[in-house]
Every structure is written in structure tokens, then in C-alpha cells.
Symmetry: C2
Subunit: 171 residues, 2 copies
């Protein structure tokens, strides 16, 4: 549940790959791009889905995995680095877990969270940040970013069950 989301947003033109970007970040802090870190970055950027720590851990610690296995501890340590590097960011809390998404090569957007099916749906609206920048300024606040979750029911869950699946109900 709570994934699929297949992004209606378009990918931005990016010059360097996530791995390269990460390597650059690491070098500025005299840290190293190890095989484990590269494995994790490739896994995360293989698609554009939202994810949480445990999903990555369970994929990368599987017994006969090609491309290198990585320990749970290293996944956690690397996720934190990737966040610091600006490659990923935490977007919401779902089921008491922090949900991450790509923050590199992906345009700013916000999320609907369906209170019934837990689905995360992205949406983009420039008015929101316009208003926020304005309001922040009015309060002497220098905005650097925001985190917005809109709660409610998605179209599927909101639709009344009436006269749907009539035939199916008779099976």
C-alpha cells in the first residue's frame, strides 16, 4: 500500500548522476564513496518511488543478491548522508515511519495522503510556495523550505460504494 504513485511530474534535466553527485559531496567532507554506498544510491535511484529505511534494508540484505549486499547499519548511516547531501529528503510520516523521496533532479511538490488507503499522491502548485514566501516575509522569517501534507480521501476512497460492482456483488 501507499506507493505506486508513478509521478505525473516530469524529471528535470540533470547533468550529473546521483552517484557522482554523492561522490562530490563526500569528497568535500573527506569521506569516501565505498561500494556499499554506491550500491545503496543505485538502489534508491533505480526508480522514483517513495520509500522508507526498512524497504531498502530488506532489499539489500537479501541472501543471494547480485550487486553487493549491505548491512542494516550501513543503510541507516548512508541514508543520513544522502539526506545531508540533498539527494533525498523526508516527505511525510506514514505508519510511524519516515517516508523518503528523491530531492535531486526532481521538482518541488507536495503530497496528498489518503486517510483511508494511505496512498501518497504528489501534486504541484506554485501558488503555495508563493503564498508561503510572502507570509514568511511578513513575519520576518527567511524561508528555506517547507513540508506540507494534505490529508483527506482520495477520489477512489471518497467515491460512494453505491451502484459500483453491482455485478460482482452477485457472484
Amino acid at each position: 500500500m501507499s506507493n505506486q504513485s508513478g509521478s505525473e511530474l516530469e524529471m528535470q534535466e540533470v547533468t550529473v548522476s546521483p552517484v557522482e553527485k554523492f561522490r562530490e559531496f563526500l569528497s568535500t567532507r573527506s569521506k569516501r564513496l565505498t561500494q556499499e554506498r554506491e550500491t545503496i544510491v543505485r538502489e534508491i535511484f533505480a526508480d522514483h518511488e517513495h520509500f522508507d529505511s526498512d524497504q531498502i534494508v530488506s532489499r539489500l540484505t537479501q541472501p543471494g543478491r547480485d550487486g553487493g549486499r549491505v548491512s542494516r547499519a550501513t543503510v541507516y548511516r548512508t541514508l543520513r548522508e544522502l539526506e545531508n547531501a540533498g539527494l533525498i529528503r523526508r516527505v511525510a510520516r506514514s505508519n510511524d515511519r519516515e517516508v523518503y523521496e528523491h530531492d535531486y533532479g526532481y521538482p518541488q511538490h507536495d503530497h496528498f495522503i489518503c486517510t483511508k488507503c494511505n496512498q501518497l499522491v504528489e501534486f504541484k502548485n506554485s501558488e503555495i510556495s508563493d503564498v508561503l514566501v510572502k507570509v514568511a516575509a511578513e513575519h520576518g522569517f527567511r524561508m528555506s523550505g517547507h513540508r506540507l501534507e494534505v490529508h483527506g480521501m482520495c477520489s477512489d476512497c471518497a467515491r460512494p460504494p453505491v451502484r459500483r460492482h453491482r455485478k460482482l456483488d452477485m457472484i
Copy 2:
């Protein structure tokens, strides 16, 4: 840190006290308003500050406390009930802890969170929910609420340190 905030927002006219409101809620679910629960509600609604579970726990479990001591487990159990009852709500995450605030008798608003001093500042702006309702509708989403954190630097922290505390710097 991260409190004080003394709300510039005005209190709404409320007819029933939080305790009464809670009693009503509980009775509809055949639950009871115990002394412990009443103690917790009074403590929480004694002021309008933001708070987290641990703050309430440490206040209510102090050795020689008048007005009744309450166990840690009961505080957690009651906070959840108060959330269900709509008396409080979670507004943000700060220092890996869930921050609560009153949701009863208090108008809808959002928060700035200073990335430097961690201060939470409330602000009210009707345009935001107007935009959200509209955007939600466009996506077939039936909005029931939202959670918005605006990150950045508050006026105090953003102000350049130049010629401030000149004397203090020399201590």
C-alpha cells in the same frame, strides 16, 4: 528550547471546558473520565504552549506532586485518546519527538520552525487553506485537513550578528 511562542492568535469562544468536552467524548465510547485523565487534561490545558509526551510525563510523575500523580503509561494512553477526541493534535516533529498543541478552542494555523534555534512560531493565513481546498478538488481529493511546517530562519537568527552583543562577545 523550541517553546515560549506565546501565541499571537486569539482564543476562540468556547462553551464547554476541555474536561467536559473530553467527558462527552469518552461517554460516547463507554469509557470513563478517571481522576488521572482529568489531571492530564488540566495539566495540558493550563496554558497554550506546545508540548511533547515527555514533558507531560515528567511534570505528572514528580514525587511530591499535588493534584495527583499519573504513570507514564497512562499519559501515553490518554494523549492518544485526547487526539482521537480532537482536543489536541500533532503539529510537527522536533528533535525526533512528536509535538502536540491544543486543537480545541484554538483557530486553525500553521507553523514556522527555525532551523537554527528550533523555535516554533505560529502564523495564520487563510489563503493557504483556500489554495489547498482548490488544489485538492482539482485532483479529486476530499481534503479534511493539513499539516504544514515552514522551515527557515526566524528574524532573530537571520539578523546578521554584526554589532550585536558586542560587549557580550568579550566576556
